[in-house]
């Protein structure tokens, strides 16, 4: 006992925790990454590195796509933090009407698949360059320039419209925990609204801004659907379209090299974000006391700002959802708003229609896929967030040189790895039995493990932003009274972080149930998931059916978001003024 206490005293505080999470991340993230890296270092394949970096091909294979990718990532991150932050501020801190509605709508775009948002853009702005008829604007006789129809501008706008919800979710969670006492004190000493905003609110939500920005950045640089739909017709390639293409045409090593470079580049930007975060002494504002601040009165700006917020939300949610619905009802993809039928949803098999395919609700697999998807989503969201909180506590409370940087980077990687590479690495690593451990191949455990790893970026980023706000004083006080690590987590950190945690659970859940890339490599017939079902329909050209399944996924996500809003409301009645 005394020997242990003595050892403890000599070791830096939190070393055990840090090493523990590092070991977890090594198993879940570093090992698969190493598997991928080793494949590119194989003597027969190592030439892929010079092909990519220093050959006549490099320009089109890596440099131009890399430039596009980083521009896209930075633009989207900035746009998302701006729009997400603006909406979060309106919803959480001001007296804007329809706050509940806006708060709900602003979480939705992220749940709508980005291809639907890109499709919505095309429906409006498509021009004649690529045949197939123009979009709505050209239909009205308005010429659409190529730059607005294809390439960087539309891709960036579509990705902002998709990912700002991430920024909103993370920032709103942080804003809601801003200590009312601070704001009140400032207001009583006569500080202006602007001063309160820039002097108090902004600094304390800085971790959330950075977390949100980083997530949006990672989402944008790894997104495939939007640049593939809107960029390829003008030959705009990003690292993600390039690396998927390379894997698809069998040049797997080049694809993996591009993935590793994408990780490297993103790590540089992430490190800058971390530097910013670490540069500040403390963001702690939740001290376990203090109430909510009074809401800012918007005054004359109330009307216009409300209209703007509603407009942003409606355009980015209703439009793509309407399009998805139309695409699940219209027999012809080329005229989405005519001849609607419910066949694709509830029809009986009829050889004269849709090649005899019955509606999705007549697919015996649907119900099983639905329950399994929700179950796996819930389990994975829970697991990822347990690890996420541990990592976040280790990173904010017990920073240790070297280890912390590794932990921080590792927990961010999965978002940038192509799912197919990640899935393949998991089979290679954990498919066969290891020592006394049984083979995980073909079990839903393997699927859940891989998905948990893939969700870590969301859990860790959100966790960090929240934990960073919680004052260490309470924790310290509890420790002095003899409370153990897990007791402190359970009794202090978790309750205080509940808002952020809820947001993160939602993000993970939504992501898991719509994930395809990892799932398709690891699923078994005993674990059919909704995303696989949707893929099956789409891969054989049954788009209406695929869109219908996508809408089912979207409905589950929306229900989850609604539930989260309800829970939040009960937890803290902040939505009512």
């Amino acid at each position: 006992m005394t020997a242990r206490a003595g050892l403890r005293a000599r070791l830096p505080a939190g070393l055990g925790l840090n090493l523990g999470v590092l070991a977890l991340l090594a198993l879940l993230v570093a090992a698969p990454l190493m598997t991928i890296l080793m494949q590119t270092l194989d003597p027969e394949r190592i030439g892929a590195w010079s092909d990519v970096l220093a050959s006549p091909l490099s320009r089109n294979l890596f440099w131009l796509p890399a430039l596009n990718t980083m521009a896209l990532g930075l633009g989207v991150a900035a746009g998302c933090v701006l729009i997400g932050g603006f909406l979060a501020w309106l919803v959480v801190m001001t007296d804007m009407p329809f706050r509940g509605l806006v708060g709900f709508l602003a979480t939705l775009p992220f749940m709508i698949p980005s291809f639907a948002t890109a499709l919505a853009w095309g429906t409006v702005f498509r021009n004649g360059r690529v045949g197939g008829g123009g979009g709505l604007l050209e239909g009205m006789g308005i010429a659409v320039p190529d730059a607005l129809a294809w390439g960087m501008t539309p891709t960036m706008i579509v990705l902002i419209a998709h990912y700002y919800a991430l920024g909103f979710t993370v920032i709103a969670a942080a804003l809601a925990t801003v200590n009312g006492d601070l704001v009140e004190a400032a207001q009583m000493t006569g500080a202006s609204r602007r001063r309160v905003l820039f002097g108090i609110v902004l600094p304390v939500v800085m971790p959330a801004l950075i977390a949100g920005g980083s997530l949006c950045f990672a989402g944008a640089v790894s997104n495939f659907a939007a640049p593939a739909l809107l960029g390829l017709p003008v030959r705009m390639q990003t690292l993600s379209t390039r690396l998927f293409g390379m894997i698809e045409i069998g040049q797997v090593e080049r694809g993996y090299v591009l993935a590793i470079l994408l990780i490297g580049l993103s790590a540089v930007f992430l490190a800058l974000g971390n530097r910013l975060l670490a540069g500040r002494r403390s963001f702690a504002t939740i001290s376990g006391k203090g109430g909510r601040a009074r809401r800012f009165a918007l005054g004359r700006a109330r009307g216009p700002l409300t209209a703007l917020a509603l407009l942003i939300c409606l355009v980015t949610t209703i439009l793509p959802i309407l399009l998805l619905i139309a695409a699940s009802l219209a027999p012809m993809a080329s005229s989405l708003f005519s001849g609607w039928t419910l066949h694709f949803w509830i029809g009986e098999a009829d050889p004269a229609f849709a090649r005899g395919q019955a509606g999705i609700f007549n697919n015996p697999q649907l119900l099983r896929a639905l329950t399994l998807t929700v179950a796996i989503g819930a389990v994975v969201a829970f697991l990822a967030n347990v690890i996420g909180i541990l990592v976040a506590v280790a990173l904010t409370r017990h920073r240790l040189r070297g280890i912390s940087e590794a932990v921080s980077q590792l927990s961010f990687l999965p978002m940038l790895l192509p799912g197919i590479a990640f899935g393949a690495a998991y089979i290679a690593l954990y498919g066969a039995p290891i020592g006394p451990l049984p083979a995980l191949y073909g079990t839903s455990v393997l699927l859940a493990l891989a998905l948990t790893a893939a969700m870590l970026p969301f859990a860790v980023q959100t966790g960090r932003a929240t934990v960073a706000q919680i004052s260490g004083d309470i924790d310290e006080a509890a420790r002095l009274t003899g409370a153990g690590f897990f007791r402190r987590i359970g009794a202090i950190t978790l309750p205080l972080a509940s808002r952020g945690l809820l947001a993160s659970l939602l993000l993970c859940f939504v992501n898991v149930i719509s994930d395809l890339a990892i799932v398709v490599l690891l699923y078994t017939p005993t674990t059919p998931l909704l995303s696989v079902l949707s893929y099956r329909y789409a891969s054989d050209g049954f788009h209406q059916f695929a869109n219908a399944v996508t809408l089912v996924i979207l409905s589950i996500s929306t229900l989850a978001a609604g539930l989260a809003t309800l829970l939040r409301g009960r937890n803290r009645p902040w939505l009512s003024s």
């Binding site: 690529v130 197939g132 379209t241 040049q251 080329s334």
Partner: protein
Amino acid sequence: MRTAILSACLTLPLAAPGLAQDLDALPPADLLPLAQAEGKVTVYAFTSRIGRVETAFEAAYPGIDMVGFDMSSTEMIARLRSEAGAGIANADVIYVSDAPLVLSELLASGLIAPYVPPRVAAALPDSAKAPLLQQRLSTKVLMYNEESYPDGAPVGNLWDLTREEWSGKVVMVDPLQRGDYLDLMTEIVLRSDEMATAYEAAFGQPIALDEGVADAGRQFITDLFQNDVVLFGSTDDVNVAIGAKGQEAAPIGFTSYSDRRDNEDEGWALQVANEVVPANGIVFPALLALNPEGQNPAAARLAIDFLMGDDSETGGEGFAPFYVAGDWATRNDITPHPDAIPLAEFNGWQIDPQQTAPIRAEVADLILQLQ
């Protein structure tokens, strides 16, 4: 550990190499009891149509559970490789497209093995029996909009696509995003002699190659990209671009002949340009193979036999999901689909995957530089 698993597999009576060869010669009637003893067969397929095969197979051979997985050819290759690396033999039958890739990535490393059911061997041309069994043939060929061009295809020669009037009006999937389009480009290079002849037919003079361009095929690809060919991410987008009705001067481009069967459902006017010289594109196989380490060798062979179709005119239930206008059975005793041009009259190049494989990557590099 891996060797332990391998040797464990090899000592299993049914997986013994000698017996496997015996199995190859058995007719379906003799395979059936062995397969029923195994009770199960797992198929990795690149199409969801395997679901319909599953139902038909289980009805035809009660007592054998067919388990179908569908995933893209790329995903299948990744999965098979990592499964083999982990000593797992989950799949029994592999049904896959992307032949050139399959030959170099799977067959060459022994991850899959050939099998030709003796029942249908006599009805197959040699090219459909080796190096792997070919079940059916699909296409990536030049298609046009028959509403926009009611008098027939607006081009008669592939080289027409490089003319100014088609600038920005030729569409296809990015050959660096989809293997079958890369195979198409590769075939054009392999057929450089024919391309050179066609050039002369189009422009009335022998082809003059640009500096650094090795042959007529590569010159065509170069010219096509310089003529602002429009690239998409998927064939669906290509089909809409070419086929959507109500277009005044629709683009032309490369897609699947069999997609024409969706014309009515989708409101398209897709039609194949079959009179184009030297050819309108490529005809390529879907392959069937065994997993040499598979745990159900008899059921695997029975399943492949079933997928090749029965002795009726259209191949019966096993082949029904694949009996569509615009695809062709490799078996010469299955009647061609009445709604499509028969293979013999179709003007596409039938690819030889063994020829395509070696230069495919090099053609990809050429395209990479052109983009």
